[in-house]
């Protein structure tokens, strides 16, 4: 998922990256529409960071496409003539902000992020939950894909109803497996001295 090698941006302290990202997003949000030069500066800054962090273009564009429902909605609102923000301003703002977050996500590992959150006095229970979620989301995503493939291999109808029932039972099984794995992880944590 993170295909980024070493870059100067990755080398910065994680706290700097997070605070910097928030600052950039805040600035972009607060920049009034009447100051296009500000936008240009922010956009340039982020573009430099994007390139420096070696974010693949296709990935960036794909993420950008996910913005479209909201931008389209805002464009519609503008077309209907109601009071609202100019959709071009919206698009510019959200693109700059999105690019910032992408750079952050590509150059910051989960451990670094958790370190920043720990320093920000986020409760331990949430940090543990975040760490475990990140650790096991790939495992569960793999299990889900495998179960889906196994079901597809045994599916001979093309009915949508069957597809829904199958998908639902895959998700149900996923929850059961996640619960059972949670028990085993607890045993493994205790086995190495974890005291809750």
């Amino acid at each position: 998922m993170k295909a980024v090698g070493a870059s100067r941006t990755s080398g910065l302290s994680p706290a700097v990256k997070v605070v910097g990202a928030i600052a950039l997003v805040l600035t972009a949000t607060l920049t009034p529409a009447s100051h296009p030069l500000w936008f240009a500066t922010e956009a340039a800054l982020v573009a430099v960071a994007l390139v420096e962090a070696r974010v693949p273009l296709r990935q960036f564009l794909r993420r950008l496409a996910m913005l479209s429902p909201f931008v389209a909605g805002a464009a519609l609102a503008a077309a209907l003539g109601s009071h609202g923000t100019d959709w071009r301003v919206l698009a510019a703002r959200s693109t700059v902000c999105l690019a910032t977050v992408i750079v952050l996500s590509q150059t910051t590992s989960i451990s670094e992020l958790l370190g920043v959150l720990r320093a920000a006095r986020v409760p331990n229970l949430l940090l543990t939950t975040l760490a475990l979620m990140h650790r096991y989301l790939f495992v569960l995503a793999d299990e889900s894909a495998r179960m889906g493939r196994a079901r597809t291999a045994r599916t001979f109808t093309r009915s949508r109803r069957h597809a829904w029932v199958t998908a639902a039972s895959v998700v149900g099984q996923l929850f059961v497996r996640a619960s059972e794995r949670a028990e085993r992880v607890y045993d493994a944590m205790c086995a190495r001295g974890w005291k809750s």
């Binding site: 805002a74 977050v101 996500s105 229970l125 979620m133 998700v171 149900g172 028990e183 607890y186």
Partner: protein
């Protein structure tokens, strides 16, 4: 429904961040008190489960497919406090590691999907489940709860967009709520089918994971529910009130930027016309009521369809 950055103004971002921080902090505190130590990893694993579950395709038409959001489902499976923590975790990871949803709008996303969706889903599920015992009741309750959670979260989202001045309320509400009344059908359907699948394999996994008395659970739900309701009221009330003159008077008294509120409040009356209905406020309410009734009937129909009550099997109480 992940709101990206740039769509909410600073005051909305601030308000939503404050509300969701309070809500998540309270939920964390409750979970720490209520959760048995051996269940702690279940929070993280459930968050991972939800993330993976959200990627499963439910084919709709052509090449499109629906996906589960899962707030109501997780609330039904784990209880309200744990569900808030799980949803917040998923949203935080999605924001910072997958750039899904903005940083400044994380507060709003957690509020909508982590508080409004989970708590409304939980409430509807529990009430429905109490009204109709047995598997059928659970399925119908879950389906309706999933629908409600999607719609209410979208209303909250619309309120935030309007409060920010990004999209007028008169456009935001019908657009968001209208779309989510449809999406909600998928959400309800998927949630119900998944709950049924779990109840058939491991019925012991159903029900809240906390070991506290029902009264304790009710208390956390009430506190969190109040917080969510307060937030929704904050975002929606300025626009939902059908008496703009009264609103302006109130705004003036409270020293609100009446300038900011008044145009948005007046807009629904000017631009939104439903043929045949005199008052647009009434039209919105009527549409909402009809939609809710239809969803409720669909939920009941679903339960009859998927649960074939075996006369020899006793219906089990959870």
């Amino acid at each position: 429904m992940h709101i990206p950055d740039g769509f909410l103004d600073a005051k909305t971002a601030l308000a939503t961040t404050a509300l969701s921080t309070a809500g998540v902090a309270y939920a964390l505190r409750q979970v720490r008190i209520e959760l048995a130590p051996r269940r702690v990893p279940l929070l993280g694993l459930s968050a991972a489960f939800l993330f993976a579950a959200q990627m499963v395709n439910f084919p709709v038409a052509g090449g499109t497919s629906g996906h589960l959001v899962g707030a109501a489902l997780v609330a039904a499976l784990l209880g309200p406090s744990a569900a808030v923590v799980v949803l917040a975790t998923v949203l935080i990871v999605q924001c910072f590691l997958f750039a899904d949803g903005g940083i400044l709008s994380l507060g709003a996303n957690v509020f909508n999907m982590g508080l409004v969706a989970t708590l409304s889903g939980f409430a509807v599920y529990r009430i429905g489940q109490r009204l109709v015992p047995g598997v059928r009741g659970r399925v119908a309750a879950m389906a309706f709860a999933g629908w409600c959670s999607a719609v209410l979260a979208s209303v909250s989202c619309a309120g935030q967009l309007a409060w920010s001045g990004t999209v007028a309320w008169s456009v935001a509400l019908p657009a968001m709520a209208g779309v989510h009344m449809l999406i909600g059908v998928g959400e309800g359907l998927i949630s119900a089918l998944v709950l049924l699948a779990v109840s058939r394999t491991r019925p012991d996994l159903m029900g809240p994971v906390t070991q506290v008395q029902a009264s304790g659970r009710a208390r956390s739900f009430v506190v969190l529910g109040l917080l969510a309701s307060l937030g929704v009221a904050l975002f929606v009330a300025p626009f939902a009130c059908p008496w703009p003159d009264g609103l302006e008077a109130v705004a003036g008294k409270l020293g609100f930027g009446a300038r900011a509120l008044a145009p948005s409040a007046a807009a629904p009356l000017q631009n939104y016309r439903v043929p045949g209905l005199a008052s647009p406020g009434f039209a919105t309410a009527a549409a909402g009521a009809i939609g809710t009734l239809v969803a409720f009937c669909l939920a009941v129909a679903l339960s009859r369809l998927v649960v074939r009550e075996d006369s020899s099997r006793k219906s089990s109480h959870v």
